[in-house]
């Protein structure tokens, strides 16, 4: 157990360092991207007014001081005031989080619920038509660019067939296409990895032993195979959540979904630094937290890790 705690401690330390690096990179890139003040004021604003706004935003202080202030504020969850919305950045971003969360979770649950059984069936019925078709579709799904998949869905399912609306957020029908688009890549990856993980375990000696001692196929699969295949499946599933966070930028743009991905893109165009910093930091934090949870689950699923 102590070994496992050390393992978790190391992971936690790394996660904190990763978050610090992410926020530093964000800070540097956003500061390099130019002065936001001219965007805020009319073109003929007097110089005194420009200086006043710069001072108000703290942009007139040395960069190292700005960085120090920034880091201190990040730890308190304070990312400054949005230049565009004229509200605290955190408050703005939090307003967009539910939409993103709804989309990402739907996509994720959809992906996992569909992909794991498909991968399992593919592995158990290896080299049958079912397997070939499922893996063929997965392969195509994995290499189709997210934004084009979204366009195809709009083209076929909303414009031709008229099943779903093309964009925006509303009832569940608005959710279907974006969730499918966002989840497609993860679905394909999880299905393919589940298949190979299960195949790997099916070849193991203990599965042969389980069969030899006359266990039912259901028990062999449910108890001996799935549990051992769970680790790699869990890993890829967790990693996919990060991909989802990145993919939501594109998906939300294609479907005009009012989430933080689209907010981030718009804020970059608006040079709204505080909002960009906040969205990126929150996404990275979510990713780090999820991976930490997965590390804990490792210990639950694989007792060998606990005693190490």
């Amino acid at each position: 157990m102590r070994g496992f705690l050390t393992f978790l401690g190391t992971r936690l330390a790394r996660a904190v360092v990763a978050l610090w690096l992410v926020s530093t990179v964000v800070f540097i890139v956003m500061r390099l991207s130019g002065d936001p003040v001219p965007l805020l004021l009319p073109p003929d604003a007097p110089r005194a007014e420009i200086f006043r706004v710069r001072a108000e935003l703290g942009l007139d202080r040395p960069i190292i001081v700005q960085y120090g202030v920034f880091l201190g504020n990040v730890m308190r969850g304070d990312f400054g005031r949005s230049i565009h919305f004229r509200q605290p950045a955190m408050q703005v971003v939090l307003g967009y989080v539910p939409a993103s969360l709804q989309l990402a979770l739907t996509a994720f649950v959809l992906a996992a619920l569909v992909a794991v059984p498909i991968g399992l069936v593919s592995a158990l019925r290896r080299n049958t038509a079912v397997d070939h078709i499922a893996m063929g579709v997965a392969l195509v799904g994995q290499s189709t660019p997210t934004f084009f998949l979204g366009i195809l869905f709009i083209l076929v399912l909303s414009l031709q067939v008229g099943l779903f609306p093309t964009s925006g957020r509303g009832d569940w029908r608005h959710l279907v296409l974006p969730a499918l688009t966002l989840g497609a890549f993860s679905m394909a990856s999880i299905a393919r990895l589940t298949r190979s993980a299960v195949l790997e375990v099916l070849r193991a000696d203990f599965v042969r032993t389980a069969r030899a001692k006359g266990l039912s196929e259901l028990l062999v699969v449910a108890k001996h195979t799935l549990r051992n295949a769970a680790l790699p499946i869990l890993t890829i599933t967790g990693l996919q959540f990060g991909t989802l966070l990145g993919g939501s930028v594109v998906t939300e743009t294609v479907f005009a979904w009012p989430g933080i991905g689209r907010l981030a893109i718009q804020s970059i165009y608006n040079r709204d630094y505080p909002v960009v910093q906040c969205t990126v930091f929150l996404s990275a934090a979510a990713f780090v937290v999820i991976n930490f949870v997965i590390d804990v689950l490792y210990g639950v699923l694989d007792p060998r890790l606990r005693s190490r």
Partner: protein, 296 residues
Amino acid sequence: MASSIPVSVAADLVPARAPRRRVPWVVVLALAFVGALFVMAVAAPVLAPQDPVRQSLRVRLKPPTLEAADGRAHLLGTDHLGRDVLSRVIYGSRVSLMIGFAAVAVGSLIGSTLGIAAGYRGGWADTIIMTLADAQLAFPFILLAIGIIAVLGPSFPVLVLVVGLSGWMTYARVLRAQVLVVRSREFVDAIHALGGSTLRVILRHILPNVLSSLVVIATLELARAIVLEATLSFLGLGIQPPTPSWGGMIQEGREYLDSAWWISTFPGLTLMLSSLVVSRLGDWLRDVLDPTLRGE
């Protein structure tokens, strides 16, 4: 001499090489497709039926047809400015392939260098480089890419750099692992004792061992790079109009989806097929050259 010492790593972990198989027909097809893509990019001026940026408002939004409208047939239709979609798809392959290959070169160079440095130096350098790799994996990179391009402007070198930087981590990991394996072996000490340089160890004992892995990673990265470039173009941050790029065309056609589906669909299908074929080729290379990479 050093070169006579076996350098293959963990040979007992790799199953004995299967007897030489015939190249599957899917792979032959894939290779043919990639070849065709190359020919398309190189010979675009010869192959394209028309000037890809020539506008003609009289033939705006014409559907795909074999008949000649204004003395020219538009096999894949025309876009909102009357430009020939087929010609633009053909020319678009240039942007995709040039940025794709250049980005893979940049990424592999940076990744390999950092991976070797991390493995050799160990200690702080290792920690920093690998933490950086982890951090970048944690980062929705598209945001960073957009930020950088917004600062520096969407020019060819900037795009190559950004797309290249998006994928250095896998190279670094593989090379670092290989360095760690090789570095601890006695023959490395022997080489150093005999006056051999670190560079010699890297060039003769590390790179040859990872060459096949590098080829596999580079192929898979190429598919990713092509898609990332198209994604950036789609968001308006790629090579700027009027130069045709697949992502840009898909974006331009988005507003005409209900009236002129062909503008987005054809470049999109070409992009999808290219990505599918190149990544499939990478998967196949991996199975043949380096089964240990599976799961990376």
